[in-house]
Amino acid sequence: MTIAESPLSALPRDLHSLLTEYRQTILPTAQAYLGSKVSANQLRGQWKPYYFGSFHSYAITVERAWREATGTDGSLESGAPWADPVYEVPLKHFPVCVAHNNLDRLVEVLAAELGEQTADKAEIQERTGDLAQTVEALDSLMESLAEQPATP
């Protein structure tokens, strides 16, 4: 996103870039982890640069798009926002941020439980299933939003 470009209009392109990197880096690593070919620490090692790098940049764009749409300056306001079509575009991207944040915590707890061990050693298999479902669902979500135009 260039300095002069509106964050609202930049969102689909920024998300497309994020999705491209996600498919090149995270999806293969997650699949390798689920196949017990890489350890939980290796999964975390691939995830963190993506999360704190490309995703963080995207999350800032989402935040800026929210502020552009609502006219807020980031100060805390009391009460819920009014229902208004101006919120539509940034609100569509909020679930992408929520899913990334949830994945970050999941990767953390997998690394805390397993460290250098692989998924087949996990005692809590439910979380391995969570990873498989979330990684796939996030890919689908980002793909659906990356194809949509910025303006409603």
Binding site: H56, A59, I60, V62, E63, R64, D73, G74, S75, L76, S78, G79, A80, F94, P95, C97, V98, A99, N101, N102, D104, R105, L106, E108, V109, A112, E113, E123, I124, E126, R127, D130
Partner: protein, 178 residues
């Protein structure tokens, strides 16, 4: 969850949580914005229920007579011009488990259960908080009868929101959440 004499099982629980969110606070001299704010909440009621082939019906509630709550803490200050949309969220509670096949209620004793996640909004709808350690489970006589291997809490939806004029943090809760 593991209960001695019964076995292990993963139990999916569904229900409702009622909490009172306090007025956000910023440290003296800090701007009052998302990055700098501390946001805390007090648990009023947690009631979730599920079924397990091993344990029968399981109902989980919180312990209102103990100090329980949640906190979103200040983010590291962003560089000039940047926005910090992601913050750390910690939930601390004393869950109680009514286990049908055990015929009694077990809990974690005096050990608070911590669940953590990262959030970009409050209330954190869609957030999944997770534990990173196991917790011993005790019966009413203080005997260990099992183990809470892991707990994950997902906030499905905001059902109802009632604004209150002001909700201040009780002193005991403030100490726990500090």
């Amino acid at each position: 969850m593991r209960i001695n004499g019964l076995g292990d099982d993963i139990v999916d629980l569904f229900g409702m949580n009622i909490f009172r969110r306090h007025d956000p606070q910023a440290a003296a001299g800090d701007p009052f914005d998302w990055a700098s704010a501390t946001i805390t909440a007090q648990f009023m009621a947690l009631q979730v229920t599920g079924h397990s082939d091993v344990f029968g019906q399981v109902r989980v509630s919180n312990t209102p007579w103990k100090v329980e709550g949640a906190r979103v803490k200040p983010s590291p200050r962003p560089r000039d011009g940047e926005i910090q949309p992601i913050k750390d969220y910690t939930t601390m509670l004393y869950p109680r488990f009514e286990v049908e096949q055990l015929g009694t209620t077990v809990d974690t004793g005096n050990t608070v259960v911590r669940l953590e996640s990262r959030v970009a909004m409050a209330p954190p709808v869609g957030d999944v908080s997770r534990t990173t350690q196991s917790y011993a489970l005790y019966d009413g006589d203080g005997r260990q009868v099992g183990e809470l291997l892991a707990a994950d809490i997902e906030i499905g939806a905001l059902l109802h929101h009632v604004p209150v004029t002001s909700a201040r943090v009780p002193a005991e809760l403030a100490e726990l959440l500090a």
